[in-house]
């Protein structure tokens, strides 16, 4: 569970204020969404030290999945779920998004 405070910290450059483990995960996501080869060797080593191979695979698949938001953004149809309001992100037991 990521609360509003953590979400706010994640939005800062470099994830300042987050735990080292979470900052590493953000660096992985940032690199994957920009230039994967920008991930420093030291970060790769730290990621392998901090996370299991299965966790790294899961995170990268998750990032790929969430990038499915790109077509709606590109097509200008990424409408707010509730106009003007932040909405909780809720998933069911199968990992499917539940519309609030």
């Amino acid at each position: 569970v990521v609360d509003e405070e953590q979400a706010g910290l994640a939005a800062r450059p470099g994830g300042t204020g987050l735990a080292a483990r979470h900052r590493l995960a953000l660096r992985l996501a940032d690199a994957m969404m920009t230039r994967p080869d920008s991930l420093a060797a030291t970060d790769c080593a730290a990621l392998r030290e901090e996370f299991s191979p299965a966790e790294l695979v899961e995170m990268t698949i998750d990032v790929m999945k969430w990038n499915a938001q790109k077509p709606p953004v590109a097509l200008g149809v990424d409408v707010e779920v509730r106009a003007g309001d932040l909405t909780d992100l809720v998933f069911d037991d199968d990992g499917n998004w539940v519309r609030p």
């Binding site: 992985l28 690199a31 994967p36 990621l47 392998r48 695979v57 990268t60 990032v63 790109k70 200008g76």
Partner: protein, 153 residues
């Protein structure tokens, strides 16, 4: 998919890498392959091949940039000239509209603007634009996954 559907192979080896890394999750491998096949069957394959290679150049995925999709008829001189598409005479108006749109999709989709989208929509129609958008997402994300794994391991 019909019996005559285009069968997208993967000369860059990305499919093999995905299958190897996700060997314990065959259902995920199958879903990703299904999306890959659907992408190549939903769109103009020549346009998608140009987008695939240009995306690989921008993302930094040399194996994908060097590979050529078998069965897709694109002049090799055109593919070699992709980095200079804005000025090269080898590209027509449709190519340029698609490549400009493709580049922004790959680099900074939030900056997409109506002019770029409209230039593609005017030539491909609404359905063509939507199909190409989703197809580009598939080929782009496969490259990002591959390159990230290659950097990590």
């Amino acid at each position: 998919m019909s019996a005559t559907a285009f069968r997208a192979t993967d000369p860059a080896g990305t499919s093999e890498l995905i299958a190897r890394v996700l060997a314990d999750h065959p259902e995920v491998v199958a879903a990703l392959d299904e999306a890959h096949q659907a992408a190549w069957n939903a769109t103009d394959q020549r346009l998608l091949e140009m987008c695939r290679i240009r995306a690989a150049q921008l993302i930094g995925c040399p194996a994908e940039a060097a590979a050529r999709m078998p069965g897709v008829a694109v002049d090799s001189a055109v593919l070699d000239a992709l980095p200079s598409w804005p000025t090269s005479p080898l590209f027509d108006d449709l190519d340029r509209a698609v490549l400009a749109w493709c580049e922004l999709f790959v680099i900074d989709v939030a900056s997409m603007n109506d002019d770029l989208v409209g230039a593609v929509r005017d030539r491909l129609g609404d359905a063509g634009l939507i199909d190409l958008t989703n197809a580009l997402l598939v080929v782009e994300q496969r490259q990002r996954l591959r390159c990230t794994w290659e950097v990590l391991w």
